[in-house]
């Protein structure tokens, strides 16, 4: 699971009001090299919840020097975009789980793939 995806996911357990962001508990994390595409990163940044991204990167120990606030005029700031690119697309949680911040329910991540299915009685 990449952090771009994590930034868009929320817990949908019945009755939960604030299921975002999911807490990441990772037992295996990989960092791959993915071709840097500044246009795509620039397009994604306005859609992101920035604090949640920084928090997630911290949880994985992969924050490095990602700033706590969005840099103004980021479209032209290649150095900044590269940092965001790394955190969004290169860091991957291979094994672990996503934990609902309100209910504590855990959604397993196996081979990089989250399983978001709820059980019959949670629905």
């Amino acid at each position: 699971m990449k952090l771009l995806t994590h930034n868009m996911l929320t817990s949908h357990v019945k009755g939960v009001i604030k299921g975002f962001p999911l807490i990441i508990k990772a037992t295996e994390v990989k960092v791959n090299e993915v071709e840097f595409n500044p246009e795509f990163v620039s397009r994604m940044i306005p859609k992101l919840e920035w604090n949640a991204l920084v928090q997630a990167a911290e949880e994985l120990g992969q924050r490095q020097d990602l700033p706590g606030e969005l840099v103004p005029d980021f479209e032209k700031n290649e150095e900044f975009l590269k940092k965001v690119h790394r955190v969004l697309l290169e860091v991957e949680v291979i094994e672990g789980c996503l934990k609902c911040p309100e209910s504590g329910r855990e959604f397993p991540i196996c081979k990089g793939i989250p399983n978001m299915l709820l059980n019959e009685d949670e629905v």
Partner: protein
């Protein structure tokens, strides 16, 4: 034509047939039949200066191919479109396929309908083996998908190939993108129930492209208990627990899909999906509508004498307000659309009525 046929030039003639396979010998015959044209140059098959194309149109019905072409076209080659993609991305050669993988041609057409372009973020909520994502990634979009079927998402289980029993280790959606050199466009796939979306409330996707289950070759499912199952036994919560699924009524699938798209598409973003239809009862009013989505097109592909599917394209024109998700209930079309729930029954009832020699079996829970 004469500037391209003078004696110092080189040329070749290519023959293309549509809806008919031609043997090599027949192609040569047709080329020779063009002898009456004033070609003065020399033939060069490998590196001609000019290529002339003979195109023969044998209609659109693969079950009724005429002896002679309906139309013949002849001209000088200037440039190619992208038809080659149909061959280069053929599902026959794809690493990971399933029973319902969308063929390459239609996948690319769907991507075009959705106006998928470079740097888009595209989502498929019924991703299966990822055929649609493969096509979208080719146009430079970043892709993600979900499916309720754990095995398909993980690339496990029985192979859909004739001579192969089980799927190999390199058979999954990511591997498919890798096969065509677009792995960098892979964002994520997840096991998830499309009727219970897991995305935060925001306009996230530039396009939603999907082929929802019709309930024929794969079951329509959603998580949830049947009324007669009371409490689950204590031992059931194991790591690999796959939740009980109940029927996901076809009309709910499309209502949910339209609501989901209205909420999660960017403004101007497109939803492209297939709608299965029982032809004897179909009318245009059955196509589901939504106040936030404008219907752009509705194209039929015939599947059999009594069934077809329609490629529906919609574009987001308005942000949803709370009541919009219920708007369809008061819409008279809603009652018409309920008929879709019977699609599966009607499909099978026709099959049973015909004294069919066809031994094709459809598994109720087939993958």
């Amino acid at each position: 034509m004469s500037p391209y046929m003078h004696k110092d030039s080189t040329y070749r003639i290519s023959v293309y047939t549509f809806n008919k396979t031609l043997q090599f010998a027949d192609r040569i015959k047709k080329i020779n039949a063009l002898e009456y044209l004033p070609f003065e140059g020399t033939v060069s098959l490998k590196n001609p200066q000019h290529i002339f194309c003979l195109l023969e149109d044998y209609g659109t019905d693969p079950n009724s191919i005429p002896e002679h072409p309906n139309y013949i076209y002849f001209g000088r080659w200037i440039a190619d479109g992208q038809r080659e993609l149909i061959r280069s991305h053929s599902v026959k050669d794809r690493h990971f396929i399933g029973n319902t993988s969308m063929d390459a041609g239609l996948s690319f057409i769907m991507a075009n309908h959705a106006k998928v372009k470079e740097n888009d973020l595209v989502f498929d909520p019924f991703v299966g083996t990822g055929s649609l994502l493969v096509a979208c990634s080719h146009f430079g979009a970043y892709v993600c998908g979900t499916d309720i079927d754990y095995n398909t998402i993980h690339g496990k289980g029985r192979s859909s190939r004739k001579n192969q029993k089980w799927r190999g280790p390199d058979e999954n959606i990511r591997a498919n993108l890798r096969q065509y050199g677009t792995e960098k466009m892979y964002v994520d796939v997840m096991v998830s129930d499309a009727s219970k979306p897991v995305w935060r409330e925001a306009a996230l996707f530039d396009a939603i492209i999907t082929d929802p289950p019709y309930g024929i070759r794969e079951s329509t499912r959603r998580t949830g208990s049947h009324k007669d199952i009371t409490k689950p036994l204590d031992g059931m919560y194991v790591e690999s627990h796959v939740p009980v699924s109940r029927a996901y009524h076809l009309s709910d699938i499309f209502t949910d899909l339209l609501n989901f798209s209205a909420r999660h598409l960017v403004m101007g973003g497109r939803l492209v999906y297939w709608l299965p239809v029982y032809r004897p009862e179909y009318c245009d009013e059955m196509v589901p509508l939504h106040p936030c989505l404008q219907l752009i097109s509705n194209c039929e592909q015939t599947l059999s004498s009594h069934t077809s599917r329609r490629l529906v394209t919609m574009e987001k024109i308005k942000e949803p307000e709370d009541l919009d998700s219920l708007a369809h209930v008061s819409d008279p079309r809603f009652t018409l659309y309920q008929g879709h729930n019977a699609f599966r029954e009607k499909y099978f009832s026709r099959l049973n009525k015909r004294a069919s020699k066809d031994n094709t079996k459809y598994e109720a829970n087939g993958e």
